[in-house]
């Protein structure tokens, strides 16, 4: 999908909210972004609710077990903090030894230790393994429905990175395009993310310690480390505001959904303007939504057998 700037422009054009003669907007881009993110959230919600076998929002990640630790956070954005689809464990962490963990009820919690867990339960977005591992040699592999990244405009281009290591950096300098006037802006925002020119994740959820409007130097909060192995920052990457944010709609979302984001935002803008065009626009937006849902609900042409947990035992 296209960068969110263009989606904003389309939404403005449809709803007749163009730039004023001095280039400013009476309805800010931040507000239009809110509508687009609302659209994305709604679309993910309604698609997810179809429980399509295609699981288009699925992602997986590995988590190292720690001796005598019961609960494990998933270093990613789990949809509604609950939508796990599979948790596996490998006693030695190797790829060939993963076995499925049973989901049990919380009242089956077992605080004894064992070589490796046999089941899990979840609470507040965390996985509680049962029993508690006695060693740190194993690993969990979690499959979950990932909540889509929020969308934001490019707020500046990274021109200098200092103190970069595999786990952290000292500061970044942002170019002359640094956004120091919007609400929020670089001086007021709490978190930023770094993405590349295609909106691909480079480093997420960086807490802002300070920002110097004179030098355009952004320094992360003391003690900051990248939240995910492999995160990094390079010159010409882009800064976006907030946690879990990017400039392009996530590839999990089909290109077909772009029209929904646009028309949803346009409908919201027209609603705000009390426009007489609102009714037609609302119908159009709902039509697109239904259209997408119908597509998601429909069976694909693949031959799909009845799901079996251990199908090879058949």
């Amino acid at each position: 999908m296209r960068r969110v700037d263009f989606i904003i422009t389309d939404a403005r054009n449809i709803s007749r909210n163009p730039a004023n003669p001095n280039g400013s907007y009476s309805i800010s881009d931040e507000e239009v972004l809110r509508y687009i993110n609302d659209a994305q959230d709604r679309l993910q919600g309604v698609i997810s609710a179809t429980k399509s076998m295609d699981k288009i929002f699925e992602a997986r990640t590995a988590i190292n077990l720690v001796a005598n630790q019961e609960n494990y956070s998933i270093p990613d954005r789990v949809f509604m903090n609950r939508d796990l689809s599979l948790v596996e464990v490998s006693s030695d962490g190797t790829l060939g030894n993963y076995v499925v963990l049973n989901k049990v009820n919380f009242f089956n919690r077992d605080t004894n230790t064992s070589s490796y867990p046999e089941g899990y339960t979840k609470q507040s977005g965390q996985i509680y393994v049962i029993p508690i591992p006695s060693s740190s040699t194993g690993s969990l592999r979690v499959q979950y429905e990932r909540e889509l990244d929020d969308l934001d405009k490019r707020r500046g281009t990274v021109s200098v990175v200092t103190g970069l290591t595999s786990t952290s950096f000292t500061s970044i300098t942002i170019g002359t395009d640094a956004d120091e006037t919007s609400t929020p802006n670089l001086s007021t925002i709490d978190y930023v993310c770094i993405v590349d020119s295609d909106g691909n994740r480079k480093a997420y959820n960086i807490p802002v310690g300070s920002y110097d409007t004179g030098t355009n130097v952004l320094t992360p909060r003391a003690g900051f480390t990248f939240i995910k192995a492999g995160d990094s920052i390079a010159v010409n990457d882009y800064v976006v505001f907030g946690k879990w944010t990017t400039t392009h709609p996530n590839s999990f979302l089909p290109d077909n959904a772009e029209r929904y984001l646009i028309h949803y935002a346009a409908e919201s803008l027209l609603h705000k303007d009390s426009s007489t065009d609102l009714v037609a626009q609302n119908a159009k937006m709902l039509g697109i939504e239904q259209d997408i849902l119908n597509s998601m609900k429909a069976q694909t042409s693949e031959v799909q057998y009845i799901p079996q947990l251990n199908y090879y035992e058949w």
């Binding site: 909210n17 003669p21 001095n22 009476s26 009390s274 426009s275």
Partner: protein
Amino acid sequence: MIVGERTFIKNFGGNKGLDLKKADVASDPSDSKLFTNCELTTNDSLTKRKGMRVGGQCRTNGQNWPESGIFTYTYRDSATGATKQELIGATTKYSTGVTQLPGLSRLVNGSLVISYTGGGATTASFSFYPNGTTAFVAELKANGVVVKTVTLNNGTAIFTTLESLRSQLTGVFAGHTFAAVLTPSAQINGNQVGVSVITVDAGHTFSIGQSALLNDSSVPVEKSVWITNTAATTLTFTGNPINVQNNEFIGISRLNAEVVPTTIDLDVLVSGTVVIEYWERIKSSVFSTLTNVVPFQDTTLLLPGFTNVSFVNSRNNVYFSQDRSTSSTQRPILKYDGNAITLAGLPTPILATPTVGAGGAVDVGTHTYIFQYTRTDNRGNIITSNPSLPQTITTTAGNQAVSIVIPGLAGTGYETSCGQISVGAGPTNSIAFTASNLSVGDTIYLYDTITASYVTRNIVSSDSASLTMDGAAVTYVAGGTVNHNFVSNNARVAIWRTKLGTNEYFLVEEVPFFSTGQTYVDVIADANLVTQFIPFDDTPHDPPPSVNYLCEHQNCLVGGGDKFNPNTVYWSLQGSPEYFPSDNQVDIPSSQQGTISALASDTDDMLAVFKPDSYYNLVGDLNGGNYSTLKVSEGDFGCPAHAAIQKIRGTLIFPTNRGFVLLRGGQMVYEFSDPLSPVFTNNYYEQNFSTVISANDTTKLVVLRATAVNDFDSQRYICHIPAESGATGTPGGGPGTQLPNANSKCYAWDYKNSLWQEFTDNDVTISNASGGMAIYKNQLYWNARIDSGGAAVGLLLKRTNLGNSYDFYSNTAALAQDFEPNWDNLGEPSLEKQFLWLKVYSMDDFYAFAANTLTIQVYTNYDSTNPAYTTTIPYTSINQREEVIKLPNIKARAILFRFSNSVAGQRSLITGYEYCAIADYEREALKK
């Protein structure tokens, strides 16, 4: 009820202008809460008015230029038949010593000539412009590149003189050589004591007849003298000798540099001339030679009733009043005839009993004598006094010479310039005197023995002991008994006597008048008397009375406002503004205290006479004696401000203590300025003598000292009404210092479009019009009254009218253009509406486009302090005829737009605007 989307179009064809009266909730968006520094173009678009900037003189140390009224003197040049104008201004202040000399000044032209003299450039130019903040900037360019910049000040105090600027513009800059010359200017060569001939450096630029500003170091004092003769290294002036110091400058060099007019890229590759307007003192018999001061009014002139001098154009002269608000001293009407100031009219002479002497040829018998003063003024008007009372004398054989003693008028204010020939000569164009105060500009009257007749000549050059004159050479005598050795400024004495056996008077001789008195000896036989005296037919040539205010009505000069005759209106003979027969007066039937405060000719047969709160109508033929006085209103609307009355399109417009009114044919339109009524409600101040202005009163309007002008080019009546403070701008500065403060108001009635406007300026203490307003050569001039170390002094301002962006400054700073149409609640003040769009039209085909930025502030729900939304429209092209603003979700019960441009050198054009609203949801709610 609003149903669906609606649009509302506003343009200026139906705009009603400023309306401060209507409550916000009852307002009509065709009215305006702000209509400030705006004007409508010929295509009914709204744009910024042009601003004022200093000119004329700026200020010089110790010199006080006109601060009490300016006036455009219009006259016919008898030599060419052309109608010409002079801007004249009155200085009345006399509160801080001899440095402030009362009198009249006129605006004349000097020059700054700049030339490019070397460096090989293909273009060279000079610019002088405001910098948008606090200063003017002078700039030289060569090949389009700035090579020299001089940053000056705002012209309200001396920081840089013209000479200093000239010096800084002379030299080699980045390899390019420029030179600058000021005219008239001279530099004193050596310290000189008690001189009336000043030695100056060669190369001075003075001409005979110009006034020269200089520093008399014996006082020291800045003063103006009249240059009556020049040589390569000397300047001769009239007046008392002075001391001058080596290397000091004389002339316009002493003025503030900011007097240079705004000039953009004047080509100086060969040379370029910048015309500099400056005040020049007018010669005066009243004020002597500018050192023997006879002020317009008391030296304690901090008078509560002080008003500007009142002027009237008549018979090619200007007649003007003197203030007599407290003094019992007679201060009769003055006149300026293009040459000098004198008292108007001539006094009735007193003839003592003639005496008989031996010799002569007067026929033996009884003769009756009378005589008259007479004078032909500079415009050719002949003024004669009443004849003296007759005196009879009898001659006997051998004693046939009759001596007539003619009293002098020295020190009275009448024209008395004269000289007594010391050595007979001729034919010649030069005369040597024993003493003379005749000077260049005077028309002399003398006896030519060759033709045996009196002749007139114009003085070409002069000093206190000689003159040269134009025209045919004259032969004259010294001594003698028939006054042939006197030379006057066309002031004469006509001696009449009866022949034997008759009662008719015949002219004996019309001799030159001599200021200190003279004795004329009549030796002429009856047979040689030809010209018969024509009696005045009950219309005596009494001299004018003392009045504060003048106007012209029924071709008469009319006056009133004398504190000691508070209800009396005087008028002159028809067509003879200097003759005021004693019968030509009437007392208005007033029961109100105070003096007449204003006069104006209403219609051909109605004279409007005002006190501050009263109006009387003097109806009928004044000189025919067929008139009546009507008391129209008392304790109601009157006119406290004579200087603010203007007659426009046959209707009088003026301020009262309760607002502006119209008057035509005795009918007053009281509702005329209803839209401004909040400004005038219980908001006028009548100053008390010896009472310090209280802090509360510094916000009130002193309507008494309002001034106005008919800006016919812009079709506007402009009226400045001061609120006053003490000299330091704070209460306690003393009564009557007459310094306008920031609470002063300036309103304009656009009579083409029938709407009120308000003028504001960056700094009212600089740009006010308390010292008068005038249209001179189609340009608007204001005379500000500003603070100078505790004294109120004048500062001339001129509307910039170059046709470019420099027209839109307030002196050196930005001029704010604010247009705020009134609240619009769409007829439903409690229901919320959603305002979606604003469109601004800018499409005046006669408008000279220049880039500008229009700021738009949107206010909601009757809160006109905190804008709900602010945006701008940058105009970079004339093709931006329609610009659309999407308003940000403005849900409001009422909306108000403010369109502004406060950028120096910019103006915005609004041909109309349109907005779009839609009903909100809660139609059943009445919100607040």
